[in-house]
């Protein structure tokens, strides 16, 4: 199957190593110093992007990254992501945080996908992370799929194997460490990726330079996409206090520790 169009939906999240604190913003909850926090590409969306690039290479396909997020932050993160794999970006300038409504996010993204010049749904695979590290609903992709009329959808995907004729098999995570295996006749389809199988690609400055040539103009003509959060109210958002009184056992003989643990496990 030549000429696949792989559209990856993904945005940015605060670096997981940062301490996050909620505050009340003008339109609902937000993160303290949200625009100052270092950000990264949402990890599962990142896996989706690397899988997309690897697949595109095999089938002479093209990868688009459609990202809804604050433009300035997206630009920072793209300086790094652009060095990984070739893609063309479509930017929607709006909130990427965990408190934005999933349905409104999906509408904005689906609208942007529809507008990609030369989009051919018979060759379209929509990729993304099966959950974001911000809102974590796993809802956006499914809704985008519905809006685009794609009813062959897969979530928690760790493997996609494409055949010559464009059909493919896919492994989805299910309970108990198992995978469900499915066969699909081909595009259009939507896949929410878990970790996949590929390591993060090393930085390639040449790819970075090529990408940035398209990324800068795309950022300049980003579509403003404020999300209203209509009819959605947050009664409260808090970091639950969860400090435990830790008993520290030091200089105790191994046998005593093992016995204490065994009793505790058996209890």
């Amino acid at each position: 199957m030549k000429g696949l169009q792989i559209v990856v939906l993904g945005s940015i999240v605060p670096d997981p190593l940062q301490t996050l604190e909620p505050i009340a913003g003008p339109t609902g909850p937000a993160l303290k110093n949200e625009l100052m926090l270092p950000a990264v590409l949402d990890p599962w969306a990142g896996h989706a992007l690397y899988e997309a690039a690897s697949l595109a290479k095999k089938v002479e396909g093209k990868v688009y990254l459609v990202a809804l997020g604050p433009k300035a932050k997206l630009q920072q993160v793209m300086m790094n992501v652009a060095q990984k794999v070739p893609f063309e970006i479509v930017v929607l300038d709006g909130p990427a945080g965990g408190f934005a409504d999933a349905t409104e996010t999906a509408k904005a993204l689906a609208g942007a996908v529809e507008k990609i010049p030369g989009l051919d749904k018979s060759k379209l695979l929509v990729f993304g992370g099966w959950q974001s590290a911000s809102r974590g609903t796993g809802a956006v992709l499914q809704m985008v799929g519905e809006m685009l009329g794609i009813t062959d959808q897969f979530q928690g995907v760790d493997e996609l194997v494409l055949a010559e004729d464009g059909s493919f098999t896919v492994l989805e995570r299910i309970e108990g460490g198992c995978y469900q295996k499915s066969a699909c006749q081909g595009a259009p389809a939507l896949l929410g990726w878990a970790t996949g199988n590929l390591p993060e690609p090393p930085n390639n400055p040449q790819v970075g330079m090529q990408n940035m040539r398209l990324i800068m103009p795309a950022l300049a003509k980003a579509t403003p996409s404020p999300l209203k959060g209509e009819g959605l109210r947050y009664a409260s958002v808090e970091v639950p206090s969860q400090r435990r009184d830790t008993r520290i056992v030091k200089d105790a003989p191994v046998d005593d520790i093992a016995r204490e643990l065994a009793d505790w496990i058996r209890a």
Partner: protein, 331 residues
Amino acid sequence: MKVLFLAHSEADGSLGKAACEALTAAKGLGGELMVGLYGAEVQKAADQIAGCGAAKFYGVAGGEFATARYGSDASACEAMAKAAGADMIVMPSTSRASRVAAGVAQRLGAAVDTRLTGLEAADGKIVATRWFYRQRMLGKIERDARPWLVTVDSGCFAACEAAGSAAVEMLNVAPATRTTVTGVIAPAADAQTIRPDAKLLLVAGAGWGKTQPDGQKHLDDASSLILSLLAATQCSLGSSKSLVDQSGEGAALPFLTHMHQVGQTGSTPRHQKGLATCCHGEEPHVVGWRFIGERRAINLDAGCGWAQGKADVLYVADAFAVAKKLAELLK
């Protein structure tokens, strides 16, 4: 207010525990309760909850609906939700229900919130509780929109038990799909290390693969010690990202995959007890442990800042020595 509880039956025709818990959440909303069930067969599942107080049972059944597949499951849920005309729709957060819930909401023009850990009706308002930023913050949400479709996490409500015999109105649904489910791949018998029903979660951290005080790495010992603890306790095995990544590169424990990873980009399993070994990071101790009741940790480093304040007990000791003795005691 009309409330629809929507769930799939299991392979044996019964209703799973997570679904029975979601039913309790739906009942708790008050209002007129209806039930919608889909799967290869649904009568056994309906009978299991016949006395739950539902005014009506809908069903979609047949070979087409035996397995989790987006096209067929979404069509089944859509048909039952449309027949019920409910204001609130409650589904469990099983992997099968989760993969269609938002798509179904989109078909119904419904608002959607997933993975709730609380759902309450008070003073004519419905308040949903869920975690944000990978279980770091807890938020309470209200919505004006109806219908409102939600999925609730397992382990947050008591399972509803109400056996009897139910009259189910079966709906005919012709799913549109180009997908065939061809099977389930279970982990190899000797790698049976993820057990959602286990009482204990053992978290293995990168320390198992590090150079030890004798100046050597002891990966073979680490492997066999961890496996012997698993064999002795039938516990679930989780791991930090650092250790999983090393395993992928062939440098650490051969039986670890990303499926074991807990934390931001891993899972946040629910277990009664958790034992973290050789972990330093916030991820295994805070995010991965979010839904662990009693927590203990073993680390050589007394200053392990993440265990302090997060674990009930921190043993400052060599995990190799403790694990060896512990496995013997538990055999």
